[in-house]
């Protein structure tokens, strides 16, 4: 069993610990007997998604996101084709914004996105960093994490998270957050989202096995400390909500 991960801009779209999303996915897949190849693409590269099963981009600063958007037109068709072909796409933090039709920066300049979805984003001069507890649309256990955004995203009708009991959604406090359509997943949650949310990780693994036509084991692997760490974070955050 072989699988390829394409990690876009690990050197620049890296606000904190984004690489761990790829590391934890790889570790789990390897425990399941999958041979994983990770291809890293830098800003100077034209990414090749021809054999990519999982495509990931993490959060960056506003400036770095713009350098991604400058490069975007060169491979937008390739990314669209990969997503339509069933590659699992996960964009986190402000990488999520690039999947939409456009990002309007704080000075009013409009930057076209990858256009995998019709939503649009407007940057603001106010930053809302904060802890998050979210209700997922696709799995049961609440998602936990952190958001570090200065933008509002409008026009999403299929959010990844139905509502937030803690945190700022796409365009409103406690509002729906993220985006999902087919095999494309996006959330403004920042950092090692899959490390912090074992159920999110398992959902991605299930989608990847389905794409490959592999039979899923009866139980997905649970590695040490993962569930305990999640439980502590959820407990602490929920205590704050009360």
């Amino acid at each position: 069993m072989e699988l390829t991960i394409a990690h876009l801009y690990p050197d620049s779209m890296s606000l904190y610990g984004e690489y761990a999303n790829v590391a934890v996915l790889r570790r789990h897949l390897e425990v399941m007997g999958v041979e994983v190849t990770v291809r890293n693409f830098s800003c100077e590269d034209t990414p090749d998604f021809s054999d990519a099963d999982f495509i990931y981009m993490g959060a960056g600063t506003e400036k770095r996101q713009k350098s991604v958007l400058i490069a975007a037109p060169h491979y937008t068709p390739a990314l669209q084709a990969a997503a339509e072909g069933g590659a699992v796409v996960l964009f986190t933090g402000n990488a999520m914004e690039t999947l939409g039709a456009s990002v309007t920066d704080a000075k009013g300049q409009v930057w076209p996105g990858f256009a995998l979805a019709e939503f649009t984003t407007v940057e603001t001069d106010r930053r809302t960093p904060g802890d998050v507890v979210a209700s997922p649309a696709l799995w049961d256990a609440p998602a936990v994490g952190f958001m570090n955004k200065c933008s509002l995203t409008h026009g999403i009708t299929t959010p990844l998270f139905k509502e937030l009991s803690l945190g700022f959604g796409n365009d409103a406090e406690h509002g729906p957050e993220g985006y999902v359509s087919g095999s494309v997943f996006a959330t403004h949650l920042t950092g090692p989202v899959l490390v912090k949310n074992p159920d999110f990780l398992d959902m991605i693994i299930r989608r990847l096995f389905a794409r490959k036509g592999w039979e899923l084991p009866e139980r997905l692997p649970v590695l040490p400390h993962e569930r305990e760490a999640y439980n502590v974070t959820l407990r602490e955050l929920q205590a704050r909500i009360k």
Binding site: Y16, C43, K63
Partner: protein
């Protein structure tokens, strides 16, 4: 008249606050309400020094004060670390006459990097030292470029900027500013051609996002760099550490002044150099500066020695949510020679606010502890599972690692066995949980 009453109110509230052990922000807060522009009305000393940046503010300010006092100046500074506008107002007004003239030859301010513009709306420093900009408390700060943009409006054209030339983002403050002095570290024994660390914030040019090239790195993204696309580069320095031997604890400034290090950390080197640079500009002479700064032991208590069972312990205060602070302390441990154990505590992520954010653990290069002399690593605190998971992704053998849910449990285990040197890496938010259980050395 309002200034007069604001000064009286501030002094009274400060006096009362001291009696009941209250902090130093409140008097300034009320004074500012009474007279919002009071800081613009008070006559300040001719020398106003401000220090900001992610790391090293408190230590640098403490050393500047020590040098200038030894040089015969009367220095007023915020020793309690209240570095936002309210604390600054308290400091200035409590040291002013009722007619609004501040006492002292030098006003020295540790300035919060995000709120500097609020303080400096009403007055501006004659010298503004910017030490570095790293990933630091992103739960408050967003990210380093966001902090850069927050500091920018605080810079007055007449202020002399004293900048760390080795930090590519800090160097951007010089753009379009006439009065700039640079400090930096020449190539030395710790310099490497390769980047070390989990992430590389110098990989991309902060001006144009082009690929940066480095002649050498001192640590993380600090070093000699240039951008092949736009030409952004490390500037030649006005003040430099021209040689450094961390192992023997010696450095040379400007080729002729040798300084001994009480604490052999790269941080300490930069803090000393920053203090040296601005004191030099303020007129201190080399001999006085060297006499004060050589073997200077910081009083801010970031390094504490103690005894625990048969262990001699050294607490290296890091900052949670600040991977560079962790990395430099881990580098310090890596360069020790004797067998040791390392205790890492992550219990409360901040002492000032609540957050459950642990992403920063993934930015720390814990593999630095993968060395012969580190015999055991003890992890503990509420977030011990997050720590343990992070260690699962290092090359450190699992049998070297022990986990405990609480600090007392970890301390109990340490007491029960072993006599190696013990290094403790944790934050202000958690260190007293350990220090309350050990015997401190004076």
């Amino acid at each position: 008249m309002r200034m007069f009453f604001a000064i009286i109110l501030c002094k009274l509230l400060r006096f009362a606050g001291k009696l009941v052990g209250k902090g130093s922000s409140l008097p300034g807060q009320y004074a500012l309400k009474l007279c919002p522009d009071v800081l613009g009305r008070v006559k300040l000393p001719s020398c106003v020094i401000a220090v900001t940046g992610s790391n090293g503010k408190t230590s640098t300010v403490e050393m500047i004060a020590a040098i200038l006092r030894k040089s015969g100046r009367t220095v007023v500074y915020n020793e309690e670390g209240s570095n936002q506008i309210e604390g600054v107002a308290t400091l200035i007004l409590c040291n002013s006459t009722f007619s609004g003239k501040m006492r002292g030859d030098v006003l020295l301010l540790e300035s919060d990097e995000r709120y500097a513009r609020r303080s400096f709306k009403w007055f501006h420093p004659t010298h503004f030292v910017i030490t570095n900009l790293y990933r630091d408390q992103l739960t408050r700060n967003g990210h380093p470029e966001w902090v850069y943009n927050a500091i920018l409006p605080a810079i007055h054209p007449e202020t002399t900027l004293v900048l760390n030339a080795d930090d590519p983002l800090v160097s951007c403050f010089a753009e379009g500013h006439e009065k700039v002095k640079w400090f930096g570290l020449d190539r030395c024994s710790i310099s490497t051609g390769e980047h070390h660390g989990i992430y590389h914030d110098g990989a991309r040019c902060p001006v144009c996002q082009g690929r940066m090239e480095y002649d050498w790195y001192h640590y993380e993204h600090i070093g000699r760099y240039h951008c092949a696309d736009c030409g952004h580069h490390r500037h030649d320095t006005d003040f430099a550490v021209t040689s450094l031997d961390l192992e023997s604890g010696k450095l040379t400034i400007d080729g002729d002044t040798e300084i001994s290090l009480a604490f052999r950390s790269i941080y300490n080197v930069y803090n000393i150099l920053a203090a040296w640079s601005v004191c030099s500009l303020a007129g201190a002479d080399k001999a006085t500066m060297a006499s004060v700064i050589s073997n200077y032991i910081l009083k801010n208590g970031r390094m504490v020695q103690f005894t625990l069972g048969n262990h001699h312990g050294v607490l290296l205060t890091s900052k949670h949510e600040n991977s560079v602070a962790y990395d430099t302390n881990l580098a310090y441990i890596r360069h020790t020679k004797e067998p040791c154990q390392v205790l890492i505590i992550v219990d409360a992520i901040s002492r000032k606010y609540f957050t459950g954010e642990t992403s920063w653990l993934w930015d720390i290069d814990f593999d630095q502890l993968n060395c012969e002399q580190v015999k055991k690593i003890i992890l503990c605190g509420k977030y011990v599972n997050d720590l343990a998971m992070r260690f699962d992704y290092t090359n450190i053998a699992a049998e070297k690692i022990a986990c405990y849910d609480t600090v007392p449990q970890a301390v109990g285990a340490l007491k029960a066995g072993g006599g190696e040197e013990l290094y403790v890496v944790t934050c202000f938010s958690d260190r007293d949980k350990l220090l309350d259980l050990v015997q401190r050395e004076q």
